[in-house]
Symmetry: C2
Subunit: 184 residues, 2 copies
DNA sequence: AGAATACGTCAGCTTTGTTGACATTCCAAG
DNA sequence: CTTGGAATGTCAACAAAGCTGACGTATTCT
């Protein structure tokens, strides 16, 4: 009840006020109606669908799912990463990841080497075939991202990234920031 | 092979070039490295997780899932929408939607009325309880979105929306644009 | 009258997540 | 050297949420 500020109550005023910032104080003021925020959540919803649509097509052709994509992506990003690392990044249980990882190893897309320093750990690498799939997937996904970036322009891209980064959990932000969560 | 432009090949130059646009032609030129685009896809991945985290907590407390959230959201957005409409927006099969909708009706969150003009259609409305849940969910989600918006600033928000909108499928863009896909 | 549409439902299958239990291997501390 | 705990893997059972296919009913359109 306290946050009942529908766009009808604000009328047309709301949209105009979104763009207005008070730069004198250094602290930017934003007046956000529920309607504007709803539009933002729906933008996320619909855009994420588009974002995954192209890779999903490729994956289903080869009998894989989105979980395989994520695993392949992050192994490609930081080769030699451990299973536990991957679990933390992906936010799934080891059982869930293991099922995906097992099929990828069986199919010869991922390599599984015992750690030299700590032999309990398994270090994960993409094979040739794995790299090929990763490239196909990321090419498809990047094409759309590139098109969106081009359509929106450079300053829009910067804003896009800023908002997304502010929307992450702090914990995930750490994974996002580190290029490599490497090994010894 | 043709798109093998890793960030190492571009070196430090890449990041600087992202921000540079040629505004003289009207057509903005963007030089995007694979690394920059990868950062964008990961931003989407991590941010979407944050985006759904808060509602997910509330939902699981009450024995619902993300699918229920989506249904409740879009019924709230356009009260009286039909089942077929919802199917088109959500991009799921009627069987899948039906399972969710059935529990919502049974639990008294959603109302199901026969269409006046076309009696084959069922129009969907939220009840009091349904509206209460919707508010709890969207409040949680909006809090994060609001915080992200405030942190990023007004121009970032505009860019955020622009990129997301460019990333949608055209078909979904239509649903996104129409405030109300109403009835007679 | 017959075709098409909107909806609901039954049955079965898949992916991807979850718990819980248990074994193995190994590191490190006592 | 023994032992506790960490890292990994695996088995089993289960749930959410998607899918296809088939069928039935009511209604509307042609």
């Amino acid at each position: 009840m306290s946050t009942k500020l529908t766009y009808s109550e604000f009328g047309e005023l709301g949209n105009a006020m979104t763009q207005s910032g008070q730069s004198t104080t250094g602290q930017t003021l934003l007046f956000l109606t529920d309607e504007q925020l709803r539009k933002g959540t729906e933008a996320m919803f619909f855009a994420y669908r588009g974002f995954t649509a192209d890779p999903d097509r490729i994956l289903s052709e080869r009998g894989y799912g989105r979980a395989h994509h994520r695993a392949v992506h992050f192994i490609h990003r930081s080769p030699g990463t451990t299973v536990n690392n991957l679990i933390a990044i992906l936010g799934v249980t080891k059982q869930s990841l293991n099922r995906v990882l097992r099929t990828l190893v069986e199919d010869g897309l991922v390599l599984n080497t015992v750690g030299k320093k700590d032999k309990r750990e398994r270090h994960l690498y993409l094979t040739e075939t794995g790299t090929t799939l990763e490239r196909a997937l990321s090419d498809a996904q990047r094409d759309r991202m590139r098109a969106a970036y081009r359509a929106a322009g450079p300053s829009a891209v910067a804003g896009f990234r800023q908002v997304l980064e502010a929307m992450m959990d702090q914990e995930m932000r750490r994974h996002y920031d580190t290029l490599k969560d490497r090994i010894e």
